[in-house]
């Protein structure tokens, strides 16, 4: 399916809005220093997603993934 340009734009607008909103809210129970940094979860989410995807595929291609008839 081709993601149409409109959906793409809407997605980026939502991303921006969510990122921006984190700067304007009050933080009730910050525990760790990074809890006070606005936009931290967004950056952390993006980084962990990329790391998880790349790391998994790296591990997979270095021994874990086998042909489908491996056990037959």
């Amino acid at each position: 399916m081709k993601v149409s340009a409109r959906v793409k734009v809407a997605f980026y607008v939502v991303l921006l809005a969510v990122f921006a909103s984190d700067f304007f809210i009050t933080r009730e129970h910050p525990v760790f220093p990074w809890d006070r940094i606005p936009g931290f979860s967004a950056v952390y989410g993006f980084i962990s997603c990329v790391v998880i995807a790349m790391l998994s595929k790296f591990i997979g291609h270095h021994g874990i993934m086998k042909k489908e008839d491996y056990y037959d």
Partner: protein, 593 residues
Amino acid sequence: MTEWAHPAAILIVGSFLVPFLRGGLRKCYLLALPSAALVSTIYLSPGNHWTYSFLGNDLIFGRVDKLSLVFAYVFTIMAFIGNMYALHVDDNRQHVAALMYAGSSLGVVFAGDLLTLFIFWEIMAFASAYLIFARFTERAKKAGFRYLLVHLFGGVVLLAGIIMHYVESGSLLFGPLGDGGLAFYLILIGFILNAAVPPLSAWLSDAYPEATITGSVFLCAFTTKTAIYVLIRGFPGTEILVPMGVFMTLYGVVYAVLENDCRRLLAYHIISQVGYMVTGVGMGTYLALNGATAHAFTHIIYKALLFMGAGSVVYMTGLRRLTDMGGLYRTMPVTMVLYMIGGFSISAFPLFSGFVSKSMVVSAAAYDHRAIVTLLLTAASTGTFLSTTLKLPYFMFFGKDSGIKAKEPPLNMLVGMGIAAFLCVAMGVYPSALYNVLPYLAKYKPYTADHITGSLGLLLFTALGFFVLLKKLNPEPTISMDTDWFYRKGASIFMWFLNDPMLKIGDLLARTFFNTIPSALIWFSKNPLGALKIAADTAFILVCGSDRRAEVKRRIDKEKAIYPGDIIKHWPIGSTVLWVTIFLLTCLLIYYV
């Protein structure tokens, strides 16, 4: 209030009637049984009921308190949803197995002593195994046997632990088992095997995708969550469970990224989600234990919804691999929407059920000042969103059009999914209903401004990552090696060891003892003296000089050629008399000495 019937008994004993019913009556009965169990659970009053004396011990079938009740609620609700989803199935044996499975899970939850718990624990293993066998494929049969063997092993370890605990403490009562002896660890191993803690987890991802479409919906609900219940009951605050749980969350996520089989992908996310609960049990604070309980509650419903959604696709298309699917949103829009509600719930999206339960565990870690645990649990939740809510539906319902024109599943399947989806949203929108039944006193407010923006940021930027990496995340037609390698490949290595080296050694031994040695003895006894002579000459060759060797060799050849020869010729009477005399003399000497 009177306790009129044990919820487990309603399901287990009630299941025996199923084979005698047909058509609409059976359908009504299948829905009435879990409803009756739910009503009976609601009217249970706290305390110990159905206590029987057995060999000087009290067997407690009905320990009712807030902890057992909350699990009983969700188990009976789940049994209702599962039966609704399975109404169209015309295999009575599956219905009986599913009801016995759900009933024995309730039996474990209400068991007040370890013996009762163990009995229901084993019924669970057998009843659930049938839901795998019932697919009647060669793969299902093999996976079912592996599943059963692993669980029987776990059951034996658990029983050993229970017996040792009984001998040491003199009591079978099931409460916190905090002494750290061998019994403690054996029972813990028995429990975490059912909770699918790696490396004891491969049975889950191996067997669940091979079960029947409706069977896997039951499977994903009960076994791991009864394990969480018994861990909360017996091992709260066991520190070793924290690293185990955190590892589980990431382990499931990594394997899910690699997985191509849609239901196996979801099975790996069971391991990941149960990791949050195990972590919660390990931290042991009231908030963490409440979080583990709440997450078990919401997880049962949304995971069942996800399995029902993926199962509907497998049922209607006959396909199971993501690489074969795509573009199904056109013909299965209702299934897709219901699946996505499950997806948003498992990813802890605000207004969905996972948000109000998963955040409790993560916050419990933060309030306990466990920075690394908090960060890793948060990272794992992005992995969940990535695989369950983005990758799987993208390649199943969108992506390249596979040209499959599958219809929506039967109405009862959609209704089952609808009930689960309704509960997912209801718990997300109105969490107090869930929080009110939680067992411990710990206040928690999920909907704070920073928590909402934080979660949305985390998840939406994960989505950005997904679309950036879309090409890299294409599912691949492979399977992944897990710890089941050790008993799947290990078994064939063991069989080779038996069939090749061991068989050769056995053959050699048999030939030596039944062939070579007896025939040598027969040969020897034909003419012992001649044989000894040949032997002496052969030995002589080894030590004598080279000049006489040829001569002795010729003699040996001659002796061999005429062997055994004419014995009498070599035994004149004189020498016989001489030997007899020597023999008698020896006897005489032995007698007097």
